[in-house]
Amino acid sequence: MRRFTILFALLVAIIPACAARPGDRLVYGLTLAPSGIDPHVNASSELGIPLTAVYDTLVYQDLSCNCFVAGLAERWEVSDDGLVYTFYLRQDIVFHDGIPFDAEAVRYNLERITSDDLASQKARFMLGPYDHAEVVDDYTIRIYLGEPFTPLLDALSQVYLGMASPAALAEWGEEYQLHQVGTGPYIFAEYVPGDHLLLRRNPDYAWGPEIYANETAQVEEIEFRFFVDPATRSPALETGEVQVMGEIPPQDASRLSESDDFAIVPAAVPGVSLMLFMNTARPPLDDVLVRQALLYGTDRQAIVTAIFADTSPVAYGPLAAATLGYEPAVQGMYPYNAERAADLLERAGWSDSDGDGIRDREGEPLVLDLYLMSWGYMPEIGQMAAAQWRAIGVDTVSQVVSYPEALSIASEGTHHLIPFTLSGSDPDILRKFFHSQALFNWSGVNDPEMDFWLEEAAQLGDRQQRVALYSRVQRQVMQQALVIPIRDYVNLNGISRRVQGLRFDAQGWFPQLIDVTLEDR
């Protein structure tokens, strides 16, 4: 009898442990195994998918009002000259390692990000003309800028400028990416590079921004795994290996959304659309008529239908429609019109004199060098576009190159056409591509007027005035026919219908994991 009592007591003790709800563990499929995941150092979007839940930021972007709301900072002030930002911090916040969050922690983080030793790939550049930070008192910090920089709040709302525990940063040094400590709703529990990353619920979390629906996280553990090969993604979802999977291939999306067990959560990603840069510095694309002919001769709708199964919008200008300051006037500018294209080419002096189907001028055939990266459906897009251009008498030599090769080709300007896309919620992203001194000036543009607009817009505090300038830039880019926009990026997230509440932040990439729940089925 006594033995039974002990056994019974044991069972009673064990049962609650076993009775963990099935909703307690979520597996989330990522599409790239990043080489580094320190948000202050590395630049990939994938790192932010888990880490947005590990870190809090000083401010947050609220999509419903398109404004910034309190985060770690409960309020802030900007000086009239736009050079000094003062943040008043919340006083009830502790890092996952138990250390309280204060102004000194913010200063420590900003110092780390801007130090040359760290070689930050993204965070440093997001801070723009950052000069230094000053601790005013325990819970007040001032950021000083070298010149006005309106995108600062946008930058401070992103995980790349998330606040990490100074103690952990000091303790782990270069290994910090394996032992990250923040203040967010999830604790960084375990990371095996290339294999998995485990987050555990932070039970003490009570300082979330108003854009979060829940006070604390609902799912006990979230495990992230990597599915680099697109063909493996929907099978992993359908076999139950994962409950959420990013970047489902468009051809699998319709099947999943028609099923009773799965759904597609599309997330529009703001930034510059996927577009082909036309090198205006290299003949024959130095002729605006030829560039406009290529735009008229590209049936973008057909490309989006065939390759993206109409899951993402056709792009008409350099900014994705989901971006602040998008100028809708670009939509009517270059409707598909092969006759118009042929006409423009004739006017530019290109006609098919030898009857081989390819236009020529002074004995030179009209052949363009097209370089493509292997990801993002670029080879498929390139093949379709090349076939469409062939119909208007333009031949292409296509080559698929690696990303480093593409970067060197584009910076040397030996291309005629090369595609690119980049995400970002502030229209200042245009400056990276269309300023004459820009790193990604792959169109070889040199337009002093546009340079001025782009510089001015980054400094203006007034949103209306900024938007007006960016609108001019977008129209100018299209009038000058610098790019062939193809599509806006939409991340097709496949989910099991057990998953509820999956929403994405203003960047389009990063889920608000605190609000995700997993239902029993």
């Binding site: 697109p230 063909a231 929907s234 291939p249 051809q251 699998d252 099947r255 057909a302 490309i303 239908t305 065939a306 390759i307 493509l372 292997s374 080879p379 498929e380 390139g382 093949q383 379709m384 090349a386 076939a387 296509s398 080559q399 698929v400």
Partner: protein, 275 residues
């Protein structure tokens, strides 16, 4: 006392499977050679309105994700694959055979030196070596053929050497020596004809591997230019559509499998018939 045991030979006409395999290989070669004359669609014509059509009357083997005719691409694709295979094979034979025969007939230091070289060569997995060569030479038919061919040299040299050594140890070679035949005459009249059957059989088997390695490089995007039909790249392009359109990668996969299998069967059959 030397006992001569004749190996069991089976002439080709008595090997129906080998004949079938041979017929398939000849068919593939013929179709590849005649592809421009065959009444099939343009393999590169994009028709996105008819993408991912199942096999039917308009498109016998269906269409891929850009609406291109799979049958036409298959026929034209074999052309690329076989040209590459033939070129690679010539290269492997051209380097491997003299290397192996020299080592095998020379013996001693020459043998040791050449075989250590081949050992070092063999230490690289063939596909990895081929990828490294493509990385240096760039993509395209010739560089893929060179890459695959160079990677196939060591097994060739090894086999040629062992066959040469085996033949060299035969009593009739000793007899030829003793009646005063010149080394040249021995090599040409005695060693080579007797080594030939084994080499032919090995060559047929090797062809299968070369085709497979070439297709693997194309599958990885390191071969034919974008859009040019090739079995390996067709396989790769169709892979994302396995659920929606299994024919897009199924047929090129089948063609590749059958051809490699046929090459191996022909190799085995020849070994039996000639060995």
């Amino acid at each position: 006392m030397i006992e001569w045991v004749a190996p069991r030979r089976r002439p080709l006409p008595r090997q129906p499977i080998t004949l079938l395999a041979l017929a398939w290989l000849l068919l593939v070669v013929a179709v590849a050679a005649l592809a421009p004359l065959l009444p099939v669609a343009d393999p590169q014509a994009i028709d996105s309105l008819h993408a991912l059509q199942p096999p039917g009357i308009a498109h016998v083997l269906g269409t891929d994700f850009l609406g291109r005719d799979i049958l036409a691409r298959l026929l034209w694709g074999g052309r690329w694959t076989l040209q590459m295979g033939g070129l690679a094979l010539s290269l492997a034979i051209g380097i491997g055979l003299p290397l192996g025969l020299a080592a095998g007939s020379g013996g001693g230091r020459v043998d040791a030196l050449l075989m250590r070289l081949v050992d070092a060569w063999l230490a690289f997995p063939p596909l990895l070596l081929a990828m490294a060569v493509v990385a240096i030479l760039g993509t395209g038919l010739v560089s893929v053929a060179v890459a695959v061919g160079i990677a196939a040299v060591p097994p060739y040299a090894r086999v040629a050497r062992s066959i040469a050594r085996e033949v060299r140890a035969q009593p009739y070679i000793e007899a030829a020596w003793s009646i005063g035949c010149s080394p040249w005459r021995i090599a040409v009249r005695h060693v080579f004809p007797n080594a030939l059957p084994s080499l032919v059989a090995f060559t047929a088997t090797q062809l299968g591997w070369l085709l497979l390695n070439g297709a693997a490089l194309n599958f990885l995007g390191l071969g034919a230019p974008l859009g040019v039909p090739e079995w390996g790249s067709m396989l790769a392009e169709g892979r994302g559509y396995l659920r929606a359109a299994p024919w897009a990668s199924g047929f090129p996969g089948l063609a590749l499998t059958l051809t490699v299998l046929a090459a191996n069967l022909v190799g085995d059959g020849l070994q039996e018939a000639l060995g």
